[in-house]
Amino acid sequence: MQHGKYRFIVGFLAAPLALYALFVIWPFIQSIYYSLTDWTGLSPEFGFVGFDNYSRMLDDEIFWKSLQHSLTLAVVLPLVTVGLALFFAFMLNVGGRRRRGAAIAGVRGSAFYKIVYFFPQVLSIAIVALLFQFAYNPNSGAINSALQLVGLGSIQPDWLGDPDLALLCVMAVLVWSTVGFFVVLFSAGMASIPRDFYEAALLDGANRFTTFFKITLPLLWDTVQSGWIYMGILALGAESFAVVQIMTVGPNGGGPDYSTVVLPLYVYQKAFRDGQAAYATTIGVALLLVTLAFAAIVMKLGRRERLEF
């Protein structure tokens, strides 16, 4: 297979690699360089300022707020989402009435539940955010009206307008839209665990909760861990940007009193609203470091002996 091999390799790699280098790699390298300049993004001239942007960032109160919110999202969202999804997936696959001859069984209609739970995953995050913005509307939104219908009319929170609640509302939407994906993912993993393991454990008198922690979770650990990282990256990146930017308007965007501003939104605002492109890339570098640190910590904490079956 040597004839014309290198010509073929170059020919096939050239176009994809060129596109990738021009639109992905090159901007990433540039952004690290720009973070050391005073570039506004509006004019082509700029000067090299060293680490000025970085020291400015450390004094920037809103940067710390957005970092704090992003970290909250990165810790709380995977915890809630992955936890809920594991719970649902276990119910779907093991929680059913025991049928004749089977040690464990999924609930009746588990295929139906999986289809329904997955709905939000195929919708655009922008559409989901818009929908919930209406639902959260304090005066005539679906949630407060529903409270009124069930006789809780005295509780009418301002949801997105309340600085104490706004971030929670944002998180709820992200959980709502992603749980289904993990339910399906974990279900697929659970389905591949041999049934004999459960049968043997149940024979030994283990109850469902023991079987979950001693069999299901250890054997599913790789999938759970990659799900955890995936959810964290999503919480730090584009999805949280879309939800916060669309749902929490506020005078400056990012909710009342910057109560929901997150790192990607702050990068966007600095670059495309305030004309501070260099400073924006500095915050972007911070976001990159947070993301990499997050992935590294999860992988380190999650390292276990790999189980094969």
């Binding site: 091999k5 290198y6 073929f8 390799i9 096939f12 176009a15 994809p16 990738y20 639109f23 992905v24 990433f28 720009y34 649902f88 779907l92 059913g96 009435r97 025991r98 001859g101 609930v107 289809i115 329904v116 739970y117 997955f118 709905f119 939000p120 195929v122 655009s124 995050i125 922008a126 559409i127 818009l130 919930f132 913005q133 005539s140 679906a142 009206s145 994906f181 993912l185 049934r195 049968e199 043997a200 024979l203 030994d204 469902r208 999938t223 990659s226 799900g227 990256i233 990146g237 584009a238 930017q245 669309i246 990607p264 990068v267 670059a271 495309f272 972007g284 976001l287 990159l288 993301t291």
Partner: protein
């Protein structure tokens, strides 16, 4: 792995640990069976309850949106949960024509169609070479592609905006297509490289020995064999690109170039459209229905495509 397959005292040994289900269960002592049965029943009621509650929580907002899209503006504000007093289809037609939903749809179809074809073509070309050929730099290029999966796009967006501006690609469909392709390559290459490695080499070698060029072997032998992988990764990219919001928000700000998700958000916030909530809901539902319908029809493939990368 090792499991606790030691037989319980007093219980007839089930024989080999890998024994089939029925024989194992029959050997359980009556008392134990009864106890676990009642536990199963309670658990069954409990799990159905929990599962139904979440199903309702997922479906309610969607049904509510559909219902609201048929209401008058007045009804939306005065009684958000009551059924519409009639089916106001004029909301839909108004959103379709006056609110430019038809344009947004067309733009999205053009951009996603173009980038999907490009992503699959370029992704499979790169993945094939990386999976099947040994050459200096192979690993480096592979990891260069894979690395893109973990970087936050927002960091690259600021310089990318100016790269696009300098190339006169801002606010053009072909510019957006190229960017979508570039940002879809990491996962596509990752997925398809693994896929091409699993395909047998003998067929390709036979074709090559018969005188087919590498290029011809790829297009006429390997690509048809890779069809299942292409479908999976194609669905994944279709949903991702159809739902893309961040990239067009920054790179595509011209009014008549907007794609669906950003067009809808703009409708919701723009001054000009203020007041027409029913039209906005109609637009929202219009954007939701095609993907939901496609998902229900191709449910199996969508799930397989979306979870393929994450399950080992």
């Amino acid at each position: 792995m090792k499991t606790t397959d030691t037989a319980t005292p007093g219980v007839e040994s089930p024989g080999s640990p890998g024994g089939s289900g029925p024989t194992v269960i029959k050997t359980v002592a009556p008392a134990a069976r009864k106890e676990s049965k009642s536990e199963g029943a309670v658990l069954n009621v409990f799990s159905h309850g929990v599962l139904i509650i979440w199903a309702i929580m997922v479906v309610m907002p969607l049904l509510w949106a559909v219902m609201t899209s048929f209401k008058t503006d007045r009804a939306i504000f005065t009684s958000p949960w009551s059924l519409p007093d009639g089916l106001h289809f004029e909301n839909w037609s108004r959103a379709w024509s006056q609110a430019h939903m038809s344009d947004y749809f067309l733009n999205t179809i053009v951009v996603v169609g173009g980038s999907l074809i490009g992503t699959l073509l370029f992704g499979s070309m790169a993945a094939y070479v990386l999976a099947r050929f040994d050459f200096p730099g192979n690993r480096f290029i592979y990891f260069l592609f894979i690395g893109g999966m973990s970087f936050p796009i927002i960091l690259a967006l600021v310089p990318l905006f100016y790269v696009m501006q300098n190339l006169a690609l801002l606010n053009t469909p072909h510019g957006l297509i190229l960017v979508y392709i570039a940002y879809s390559l990491p996962f596509t290459v990752f997925f398809l490289t693994a896929f091409f490695r699993t395909l047998p080499t003998s067929v390709a070698e036979a074709a090559f020995v018969d005188g087919a060029s590498h290029t011809r072997t790829f297009f006429q032998v390997m690509l048809p064999m890779a069809k299942p992988g292409l479908i999976s990764v194609g669905i994944f990219n279709f949903l991702g690109q159809w739902n893309q919001y961040l990239l067009p928000t920054v790179l595509n700000t011209e009014q008549d170039q907007k794609v669906l998700s950003q067009g809808l958000v703009q409708l919701a916030t723009s001054q000009g459209y203020k007041g027409d909530w029913s039209g906005l809901f109609a637009g929202l539902v219009m954007a939701m229905l095609p993907v939901l319908a496609a998902y229900i029809i191709f449910q199996r493939q969508v799930v397989a495509g979306l979870t393929a990368g994450a399950v080992k």
